[in-house]
């Protein structure tokens, strides 16, 4: 039997996934150990895991270096990879939003927006091109995106909003919701076919717990 390989996103998503994986009968002992090994395994079920940066998970899965991945929807839409998105795992919920100063509230359709700061340039570009039929200048930032409208770097931002507290404390509001975000399970298109029975069993094992 071949090994089925999972690519997991480093950090919180993995911690939250372990319970679901164990519930589906996968032995995560090695995964829970604080180890420096890069590839961890459940040899009885012939399953391997590795941890990767979230943005890399869809890449590993698309290219078939991993059969299954667990990753946030935000990364999936930003990366736009050709994958099967088979399960919404329901945790790490938030929203991908356009946000900006309170003055713009309700006026999104009338004012023209020229600069957008974001950690998600593809998401922002697609949104403004398709939904608003506008070409905007996308300014890619690596963090604290809320700062951009405050210091005049951009008119609006595209970012993840969980509770909305950071926005509120800085006088910003959500202007539009682009997409609902949560952790997803993705599968390589070929693996789904070549290892259909085993992968379907894993999917069903997890689905039952949701």
């Amino acid at each position: 039997m071949r090994y089925i390989t999972f690519a997991l996103s480093k950090g919180r998503l993995t911690e939250l996934s372990i319970e679901l994986l164990e519930g589906a009968g996968i032995d995560c002992t090695e995964l829970k150990e604080d180890s420096r090994k890069l590839i961890l395994s459940d040899d009885k079920n012939k399953i391997r895991f590795f941890l990767a940066k979230p943005a890399d998970v869809p890449v590993y899965v698309e290219y078939g270096a991993a059969d299954i991945g667990i990753v946030g929807k935000d990364t999936l839409i930003e990366e736009g990879r050709d994958l099967y998105e088979v399960l919404d795992l329901g945790f790490a919920r938030c929203r991908m939003c356009v946000a900006g100063p309170k003055e713009l509230e309700g006026k999104m359709d009338s004012v023209s927006i020229t600069r957008v700061a974001t950690k998600y340039p593809e998401v922002a570009r697609t949104y403004f091109r398709h939904k608003r039929r506008e070409s905007v200048e996308i300014i890619k930032l690596s963090g604290s995106v809320e700062l951009a409208p405050l210091v005049g770097l951009s008119e609006v931002i595209v970012d993840l909003v969980e509770t909305g507290r950071t926005l509120k404390e800085n006088g910003l509001v959500v202007l539009d919701t682009i997409s609902e975000i949560s952790a997803r399970m993705v599968v390589n298109r070929v693996s789904m076919k070549m290892e259909n029975q085993r992968i379907t069993k894993i999917i069903e094992g997890i689905r039952k717990q949701l």
Binding site: R2, V59, E62, Y63, G64, A65, L83, Y84, E85, V86, L87, D88, V187, N188, R189, V190, S191, M192, K193, M194, N196
Partner: protein, 402 residues
């Protein structure tokens, strides 16, 4: 300024010696399979007018094509595909040819889309097109040909997934969704995104049995048993016809003893603007992408001026090479041939011996650099010769197996 002179452009590569030999060998096996099955090879130009692929017909995204101009300012492309040129030929040069026409090709294609995971911007495609028939027989023939081709390539663990775009189109026509919504559903089904499909369908009033099948579409793949889950009364005329078509194709493939390679995927809904009936894809271990894809495209040739139903497939030679390598199925070249080292006065004897070997279809090479014996042997071994022959001034011959 020659900053780039030692590099190849992104997405293209040199293929040398052993890999090149393997690739040619693979191509010749595939070419033989095509020929034995009655497909006649055609060669079309590497460059075509942009209008053949793009423009209003929009068969292929403009951003995925390599474009440049001819001397009169007309837009040209490096062909992104070989089916479209064959369709053009079928409608023009072959317009008086009786049907069916069985064409095949092996050639390089170019696309910006295909990069990463073993894909290059320049890649070799081998394919067959069966023009002028629309029947389950023809559909099955092309699927069977795809199976034969993969087998001829030396891959024995593989799977061909069959779908029928008429099934999805039929369900959508019954559902009453708008064009934009249909596209949204299509994308979600293509990604097997059950939750997404559910969210879209919840926004609409669609009668329950039909809705259930649309929601199930991402899961409708696997053995032919999935067909039992579908009640013809729920799905409308077009979708029912599509199912009948699939059943017939499967029966024919069973008759040809090929059923074990085939499974179904009714949620296969890519490239709907191109395909009109049966669609299929081939998968194997070791590569993350399909190794082949094909299907029925009855409206394509018509765009070039002749009504002609057609079906075909193309196989990615580079993908198959990668699969063979990962599956450890590439057969290494056994040492063969004779390397001839000779002393100065034996030049004529060595030359005659060389010619004689070559005439007998044996690879042979002279030691042009007149190396020392040990060095010469080392070179011969490195180049994969099986025999080393040293010819002395007096004409005596020393032979060593390497």
């Amino acid at each position: 300024m020659k900053r780039w002179n030692i590099y190849t452009p992104e997405g293209v590569q040199d293929i040398l010696f052993e890999s090149c030999r393997q690739k040619r060998l693979l191509e010749s096996k595939i070419r033989d399979a095509f020929r034995l099955n009655g497909y006649k090879e055609v060669e079309t130009p590497t460059i075509e007018y942009y209008d053949t692929f793009g423009g209003e017909r929009g068969l292929i995204n403009q951003e995925s094509m390599y474009k440049f101009c001819d001397s009169k300012g007309r837009l040209l492309v490096l062909r992104p595909d070989l089916t479209v040129p064959v369709a053009r030929v079928a409608a023009t040069r072959l317009r008086d040819e009786p049907f069916p026409i069985k064409c095949c090709y092996i050639g390089n294609t170019f696309s910006f889309d295909e990069l990463g995971g073993g894909r290059q911007n320049e890649f070799t495609q081998a394919g067959c097109e069966l023009l002028g028939i629309n029947s389950a027989e023809a559909d099955a023939e092309v699927v069977a040909m795809a199976i034969e081709t993969v087998k001829a390539a030396g891959i024995d663990e593989f799977q061909i997934d069959i779908g029928q775009v008429g099934f999805f189109k039929g369900l959508m026509a019954e559902s009453g969704l708008s064009e934009d919504e249909i596209e949204e559903v299509r994308e979600l089904i293509d990604q097997k995104n059950l939750v997404g499909v559910e969210q879209v369908m919840d926004r609409h009033k669609v009668r329950t049995p039909l809705k259930r099948i649309i929601l199930d579409l991402p899961k409708l793949f696997g053995s032919k048993d999935i067909l039992h889950k579908i009640n013809p009364e729920d799905i409308g005329k077009e979708a029912t016809k599509a199912i009948e078509n699939i059943k017939e194709v499967l029966e024919i493939l069973e008759d040809r003893n090929l059923a074990q390679y085939v499974s179904l995927d009714l949620g296969m809904v890519q490239s709907l603007n191109y395909y009109t009936g049966i669609v299929f894809r081939g998968y194997t271990y070791g590569v993350g992408f399909p190794i082949l894809s094909g299907g029925r495209y009855d409206k394509l040739v018509e765009k070039f001026g002749r009504e002609c139903e057609a079906t075909g497939f193309s196989l990615g030679i580079n993908m198959v090479m990668m699969a063979l390598e990962r599956q450890k199925k590439l057969v290494k070249q056994e040492p063969e041939g004779v390397f001839i080292s000779y002393e100065k006065n034996a030049r004529k004897i060595a030359g005659d011996y060389l010619r004689q070997l070559i005439q007998n279809n044996c690879t042979a090479e002279l030691d042009l650099m007149q190396m020392e014996t040990e060095e010469s042997k080392k070179y011969a071994r490195l180049r994969g010769f099986s025999k080393f022959v040293c010819i002395r001034n007096d004409g005596s011959r020393e032979e060593i197996m390497l």
